[in-house]
């Protein structure tokens, strides 16, 4: 399989990338600056250019995208557009453009998180973007080319980020990294389409 992992150097991305590299698949890492190919997902021209360089792949995985975290009353209208342009429309554009660069039976897997269903303080923008992607995936899966699939992985606080994020998520149980990798495997290798794959602990 030829897999494109956008954000493949991140906390979760490198685990998914290593899993597939160990199984002798061809893994292409896309990142803002230090990938096999560079991409800024907030810019649809950059997404288009990435796919033109790569040609067709069997799986597109996006584990990237920004949204601003801040108290509700500190977030300006413009702050919301950071998330809308990057993690929301960035992922929408990966599907819009990427569907034309998939081999038959290929898949696209997006990423969100528990905030969509169970938000915490300071996450009005991040939660909104995640919830938007959940509904988008269910709608777009009805219309993507026959034989291809589209899903989203929604994770709780992952074990490898526990120290960094634990204070934001009181009482949350970290998700073991083996389950994190399996969530992506379910989307990439399973037959499910239009599924929000939730692993929240």
């Amino acid at each position: 399989m030829k897999l494109l992992i956008i954000g493949g150097n991140g906390t979760i991305g490198k685990r998914v990338a290593n899993h597939y590299k160990q199984q002798e698949h061809e893994v292409i890492i896309a990142a803002r600056t230090n990938g096999d190919v560079n991409v800024d997902i907030a810019d649809s021209k950059s997404i288009k250019s990435m796919f033109e360089q790569l040609g067709k792949v069997d799986a597109i995985v996006c584990i990237a995208g920004e949204a601003k975290w801040a108290p509700f009353n500190d977030l300006t209208e413009e702050d919301y557009y950071i998330g809308l342009k990057s993690k929301l429309m960035g992922q929408v554009n990966i599907v819009r453009i990427g569907q034309h660069y998939l081999n038959q039976n290929g898949s696209i897997t997006l990423s969100t998180g528990i905030l969509a269903d169970d938000p915490v303080l300071k996450t009005t923008s991040a939660a909104m973007v995640n919830g938007g992607i959940h509904s988008f995936v269910q709608a777009a899966a009805l219309e993507i080319p026959t034989g291809t699939r589209l899903n989203v992985v929604s994770l709780g606080m992952v074990e490898d980020a526990y120290e960094k994020y634990k204070d934001y998520f009181p009482g949350h149980n970290p998700v073991p990294m083996s389950k994190v990798v399996n969530a992506y495997v379910r989307s990439i290798e399973g037959k499910t389409n239009g599924n929000v794959i939730r692993y929240y602990e």
Copy 2:
């Protein structure tokens, strides 16, 4: 009670407005052109100006906002921004600004729809916006001023719009208008906060 109903001349809005007018409440209709007060919810300056004219109210209800319906492969990147600016950020801005114009124990009620959870063809943009608002409401309800409440009403195809929309929703059961009105009453007069009030049939 002094209620502001944004979109109070629409299919659903006029039912909710009539319900409260019959009970001798003070109802102010906001609309793009023919309201008691005019507002364009896609423009946060217009929202701010509306609240400055009105002063404080007991309930803010938004049953307004646009998003473009079209096949996934016909929707351009710009088309998505119609929904992002109007039904999504319009409603976010109504909460951001409106929270400062609520009397103690006041409430804000937003509106979405079944597409968030169970989309149909041509609704990738509309579904996305609805899903985003569901998560936003849950997150923002954690941070709005103590004593005030924020909820969203998510309806299926409503009886009064059945003829217009039935072909888009094969097999869906129309929601009786009495249930539609009650969904808003639950948010306005109940004690619930951060709730997605779903009536899908």
